[in-house]
Amino acid sequence: MSEHVIEISNLSRRFGKKQALSDVSLSVPEGCVFGLVGENGAGKTTLLKHVLGFLKPQQGSVRVFGLDPVADPPGVLGRIGHLSENRDLPAWMTVRELIEFTRAFYPKWDPVYAEELRMMFELSLNQKVPTLSRGQLARAGLLVALAHRPPLLVLDEPSSGLDPVVRKDILDAIIRTVVEEGRTVLFSSHLLDEVQRVSDRIAILDQGKLLLTSPLDEVLVSHYQLTIRFLEPQPFFPQLTGALMWSGSGREWKIVCNGQKQELESELELMEAEILDQTAPTLEEIFVARMKSAQRASAQE
């Protein structure tokens, strides 16, 4: 994991009046599964399109395998397996034609592996692409993304709108990809239980800004959830250090916090509030808390 497969520095992108990405810097180490999360319109797809070289940076730089994906498409795109959000596969083809067509682009295409995936995904060769179900379409897209054994797999919302069986196929494919020596996966998702399960590192995007990028374990252990009980009923939740989000009423409240545990504990002590319970929040709870806290901050601006 010494080398960074993807290196993004100070990337900004504007579409008309909309700032799609502003000053985003992140790096993806080799052999890691990197989960990109954020609400719809946060800039995830735009970021992935820069990695693929479909968009040219207006400011900042993007390097994939040390190369500029815009200047060197064969050097970059040829080594990436890619599944786009809307699975834009050619509609007039059969599965057989799709496989043959895609194969022509990749010298490293592995026909044995392609066949193995086709059997596993139960795709029949003569079926036409438009007649495939959503799940079959995702599997076909995954097949052509994986069969050239790319060192980097980029998946944009791979499991949105799919049933649990297909989602499991996709997660298995992600794991299988990294299990094979040194391969790297970058994927975006808003299914946070999935991200929590398979990722080594995550980044949270919010309105084009990078809210956080960190190893997943660090994100999980630096946040905690407390159930607290005040002496007197509280009409509003009081200002507390590190509290990102709160819910409750009267005397008992539940809060999600980030770091600064000692400060928070001494503040609670001063207010004679009692901590009833401490639990580890899930990535989803952390994400929601971060979003609420960011929204509050921008409302105050």
Binding site: K168, V178, T282
Partner: protein, 132 residues
């Protein structure tokens, strides 16, 4: 080896693997010298990244629960692990915390609780003898 990962709380997955392997050892479901699945094998079985499994195995090795032999694999350590007492205590502590919380909320003091526990234990023993 069966491990059940929970998404219901934010305990990191490597930590969940560590805890459950320790639990399996403490409860005798994993025995000394028994081989654990390979890093890649367990990663695929649980659908988690191999980095997570590798980290769990490193942690277990540092604590003396497992030994990894180069080329051969990862095995449960020899004999009763010195940890297993500590681990038993950790598991019991969790239960005792729950019991203490409950009894305090019910207004049962420590003295009464200890008395109840002793009574219960005697009843439990005699009950087991009857079953034999």
């Amino acid at each position: 080896m069966q491990i059940q990962l929970s998404e219901a709380d934010g305990t990191p997955y490597y930590q969940q693997v560590v805890n459950q392997v320790k639990f399996l050892v403490a409860s005798g479901r994993l025995e000394a010298h028994e081989q654990l699945p390979s890093v890649r094998g367990l990663a695929q079985q649980l659908t988690i990244t191999p980095n997570t499994v590798a980290r769990a195995y490193r942690e277990l090795e540092a604590e003396g629960v497992v030994i990894s032999r180069r080329g051969a694999g990862v095995f449960i350590s020899n004999g009763v692990s010195p940890l297993s007492n500590k681990e038993k205590r950790r598991i019991l502590n969790e239960r005792m915390d729950a019991l203490l919380t409950e009894s305090r909320q019910l207004g049962v003091d420590e003295e009464t609780l200890l008395k109840l526990l002793r009574q219960r234990s005697q009843k439990f023993d005699s009950h087991q003898e009857v079953e034999k």
